[in-house]
């Protein structure tokens, strides 16, 4: 055989292998039995539809989507659902769209629309995000609602809401706001508010963008000027004062889409990590007095490994391995991995996107909602992401990228290594959607954490978690000396084999709100050996030998727990 022929045969063989490799499907070796069921319709949520007001102008905000989440508005201990309806453009539509939808949990797996009864039906705006907290320390859950115009603070008055924005100090900004987070920055017992701002956009300065050179499509934020976020100090009398500059939040690049509270340096003071869209991500370290210093770039968490800012959307932080150190996760654009930065030492973080095994599987998807939760109740925090592109028809111009995308559910092996099980379990999480907001709660009180996902210009999805093989313990905390809802409280649950660190917080994900009840997955363990509660005021309490399978309440300084 001549060398020429030999070469030719080799090449033909190689091409054949290339073709066969293209069809190769990822094979999961994960043996978990975790499964989710889409119960949106049976739960009574099928009539909800988010609207963008799009009439063909392709105005930038229409691609953003909105959030939603869980709130116990009537204090019965069951998670109700609050959704943002989106909005229409007043100059384009004579019919207004409802801004908010509140669904009452009937405690039987179904929900009832109580928007009007709760006093939320009359608001018409162009809405984005919610965050829930007891801002006035009266033992109920209030919420803050961000929009493209004026934001709204709703006070809970025994199960109905009153818009107390006017005079609250929060009503003055007329900027495009996104994610907001309540947290007690100065630990004075009253939750403060950080409100994310996006870009300086209005119909008048809308820019013409295109994918194909002919038709207008939605722009990306590089073309607009960012607007710095704002920080409001709670005055303790129902009002807030803008302390953005005094607290160290200026200057800032703007284009903020996500924020999460953490305490990476374990000094007991809440720090703040912020996800920014096409700008560097930010890390505000608390100076120990409620003012902050921004150290994102120096810490190593602001950019990707090449120093490039990514399109940060949803964000969360938690302890996901045996190091005991917090790891920050940020959802990014397609062709950008999900960011994974673990606290290393001092003010430094290490990039673990690839090492965590999250990077590569997340490379082609565009992640908005993102949160850590214990999906299979084995004691490790797993990562859920809601995905969906912003450009309609992106699949026609970019291969391998899709407008509608399946979700990711990265299961943690306990060492901070993750595997996306959605391709192997299929089911509702594998259905391509235009995912945006995402939140979790045990809405049916069976111990497992269920998932709520919103779509842009589409429905909401309630995915029931049907994994009930493992044991659990759920904990509600109520602080006395600190902000009433227990925000900023750190809980450490210990079993024979696990040390689980959890934090009570708002924010995280993308413009959405998850329940504040802490869930400890116990696996096959029937008892949580020790529960350490680190209250925001610095005090600590320990509770021993708590049986699994229950939801308990702990009130600061009482020295005991009670069953919910």
């Amino acid at each position: 055989m001549s060398p020429y022929l030999a070469g030719k045969i080799t090449v033909l063989f190689a091409v054949t292998i290339f073709i066969s490799c293209e069809n190769k499907q990822p094979v999961s070796t994960n043996k978990t039995q975790i499964n989710f069921t889409d119960v949106t319709a049976t739960a009574g949520l099928a009539n909800f539809r988010h609207v963008t007001g799009a009439v063909g102008d392709k105005w930038f905000p229409e691609s953003m989507g909105s959030g939603g989440g869980f709130i116990d508005y009537n204090g019965d201990g069951w998670s109700d659902i609050l959704l943002v309806g989106g909005g229409v453009w007043p100059e384009k539509s004579a019919v207004f769209a409802p801004a908010l939808f509140l669904y009452h949990n009937n405690q039987d797996g179904t929900f009832k629309n109580v928007t009007a009864a709760a006093g939320l039906a009359d608001l018409h705006t162009y809405g984005f995000g919610i965050t829930v907290a007891d801002y006035d320390n009266d033992d109920d859950q209030d919420f803050f609602f961000t929009t493209i115009w004026q934001n709204h603070l709703f006070r809970n008055d025994g199960g109905t809401f009153t818009d107390v924005s006017l005079g609250s100090g929060l009503e003055k900004d007329l900027l495009w706001s996104t994610t907001a987070i309540f947290f007690d920055a100065n630990q004075d017992g009253w939750v403060d508010l950080y409100v994310g701002s996006y870009v300086d956009w209005s119909p008048e300065n809308d820019i013409w963008c295109t994918l194909d050179g002919n038709t207008k499509n939605y722009c990306t934020p590089e073309l607009y000027n960012g607007v710095p976020s704002r920080f409001y100090r709670n005055n303790g009398d129902g009002t807030f004062t803008d302390k953005t500059e005094q607290a160290g939040f200026l200057p800032a690049p703007g284009k903020m889409l996500g924020a999460t509270e953490l305490d990476f340096n374990n000094d007991g003071w809440p720090d703040l990590a912020v996800a920014s869209d096409t700008q560097r991500d930010l890390l505000y370290v608390n100076n120990g007095n409620g003012t902050f210093k921004e150290i994102g770039a120096v810490s190593g968490m602001a950019y990707d490994e090449n120093g490039r800012a990514r399109a940060g959307m949803g964000i969360d932080a938690g302890v996901v391995d045996n190091s005991g150190r917090e790891t920050i996760f940020v959802g990014n654009f397609s062709k950008e991995m999900i960011s994974v930065f673990r606290h290393q030492t001092g003010n430094y973080f290490e990039d673990r996107a690839a090492l965590s095994k999250i990077g590569r599987p997340s490379l082609m998807t565009l992640t908005f909602g993102l949160f850590l939760f214990d999906a299979e109740l084995d004691g490790d925090l797993d990562l859920f992401t809601a995905n969906g592109h912003v450009q309609i028809g992106i699949e026609h111009t970019q291969d391998g990228i899709y407008y509608r995308e399946p979700s990711h559910l990265f299961l943690n092996d306990g060492n901070g290594h993750f595997a996306d099980i959605v391709p192997s379990i299929g089911g509702p999480l594998a259905q391509p959607i235009v995912g945006r907001g995402a939140a979790y709660s045990d809405y049916d009180k069976n111990g497992t954490l269920d998932i709520l996902v919103t779509e842009n210009n589409g429905p909401v999805h309630l995915f029931r978690n049907d994994n009930n093989e493992n044991n659990f313990l759920r904990v509600n905390v109520k602080s006395i000396a600190s902000a009433r809802g227990g925000l900023g409280t750190k809980l450490v649950g210990i079993t024979k084999n696990k040390r689980m660190v959890r934090r009570v917080k708002t924010g995280s994900s993308f413009m959405s709100h998850s329940e504040q009840t802490v869930t400890f997955g116990l696996g096959s363990e029937e008892v949580l050996d020790s529960l350490y509660v680190y209250w925001p005021n610095g005090s600590m309490e320990v509770f021993l030998n708590i049986n699994s399978g229950q939801e308990i309440n702990i009130t600061e300084e009482r020295g005991k727990w009670t069953v919910q």
């Binding site: 091409v15 490799c21 293209e22 770039a297 120096v298 490994e305 590569r360 291969d399």
Partner: protein, 395 residues
């Protein structure tokens, strides 16, 4: 940005297929024209190259080499549809023509059409097996998220040519993305050993070491890049990070600050580059791209952008002058002189050009020529003190 850097490498790879593949029976006149066109192309006279190939086609319309050269010129001018048409003509004349499908694949990558790129590369591979083509296939698969296929292609490339540094580097990149940093370092080390002076590879190695928690070891790699490429934002950023992590906060902050400044320039360059590639017939986009590159000290790339601009505005003295100045900065005095003289042949009253021409001559030790140029300039502007001062230096 790593992808963009590697794209540049790929464009260089396409030069592999730039050599003429003359048929034995080619008309000598056409062969001469092809040679002249190739020379014009290499020296950045893109319009001239196209004009000469037009002449060649009139003499002999069925010589594939001519169309292949036109394809390369059109690619350089970002006129990718015309390049595609030229390559298709090449293949209609000679279906086995080496490099035509490869270059079409590379153009498809520039147009974000990765499946088309893979198809072109596979066709090329069937006829002309090479590690370079396999690397390109791997790269396209990687960008599509088909990692197994990408890895296989790189491995095949290494089997075919164990000295293909790009294959090792890209395979290392795949391992890094999948979380196997040890393996990634192993492959990148192999790539760097094969091409030890490659600054892109040094940067990749430094980044891997930093990622692997070895900031001190990463330092020399980043320093090698920052010293040679003072515009390189990424190495400055990572050098700053590495210095911070070994406790040298002051110097780390210095490099982080430099990176912050460079970042603006990088962003500007990328914006103009994207716009220019999307609108290749817009003169000012290429000019602005050239300006932003020049401001960052990226001389060769700036020259390339100005050359495209010059093809759109051939009579622009300012562009010709800018290019000549960049040639001079790049040490290419011969090209600088040719371009200054070309301007003066069109308008001999341009005093600044006489001045610049004299500077080139003087800096290359040709004092008499320098004197003649400056004296000539003084004929048009007798009061020009700069010219007089320069003349003084020759005495």
């Amino acid at each position: 940005m790593m992808n963009k850097k590697l794209l540049l490498m790929v464009i260089c790879v396409s030069c592999f297929f730039s050599a003429c593949q003359k048929k034995p029976d080619i008309d000598p006149a056409v062969a001469t024209l092809i040679f002249q066109a190739e020379t014009a192309f290499r020296n950045g006279y893109y319009n001239a190259a196209l004009t000469i190939t037009d002449s060649a086609i009139i003499i002999s319309p069925d010589v594939a080499d001519v169309y292949f050269l036109r394809g390369r010129v059109f690619t350089k001018l970002a006129r990718l549809n015309e390049a595609e048409a030229a390559y298709r003509t090449v293949l209609s004349l000679d279906s086995n023509y080496q490099g035509a499908r490869f270059n079409m694949g590379t153009n498809s990558i520039r147009q974000n059409d990765l499946p088309a790129a893979i198809a072109h590369y596979k066709s090329e591979l069937l006829l002309h097996p090479s590690a370079r083509t396999m690397v390109q296939i791997g790269r396209s698969y990687a960008d599509l998220g088909k990692i197994d296929s990408a890895a296989f292609a790189y491995e095949e490339a290494i089997k075919t040519d164990g000295e293909n540094a790009a294959a090792y580097m890209r395979l290392g990149h795949l391992y890094k993305d999948s979380g196997d940093v040890t393996k990634a370092i192993e492959y990148v080390t192999s790539g760097l050993n094969l091409d030890p002076e490659n600054l892109d590879y040094k940067y990749v190695m430094g980044s891997l070491l930093l990622l692997n928690g070895e900031p001190e070891v990463s330092l020399p790699y980043f320093q090698a890049v920052t010293s040679k490429r003072p515009w390189h934002y990424w190495s400055h950023h990572n050098l700053g990070q590495a210095l911070y992590r070994i406790g040298n906060e002051a110097e780390g902050q210095h490099y982080m600050d430099m990176a912050k400044e460079l970042q603006k320039g990088i962003q500007e360059v990328e914006n103009w580059r994207n716009l220019a590639n999307m609108n290749p017939d817009q003169l000012m986009l290429w000019v602005n791209l050239g300006n932003s590159l020049k401001n960052m000290g990226r001389i060769q790339e700036a020259k390339d952008a100005y050359l495209v601009a010059l093809s759109l505005s051939p009579m622009s003295f300012a562009l010709q002058n800018n290019i000549a100045n960049l040639c001079l900065m790049d040490g290419d005095t011969a090209q600088a002189i040719i371009r200054y003289e070309a301007i003066l042949s069109l308008d001999s009253t341009l005093v600044d050009i006489w001045l610049n021409l004299g500077v080139v001559y003087a800096s290359s030790g040709r004092k008499n020529y320098a004197r003649q140029a400056w004296v000539k300039g003084l004929e048009f502007d007798p009061d020009n003190t700069t010219l007089r001062d320069y003349l003084e230096t020759l005495n």
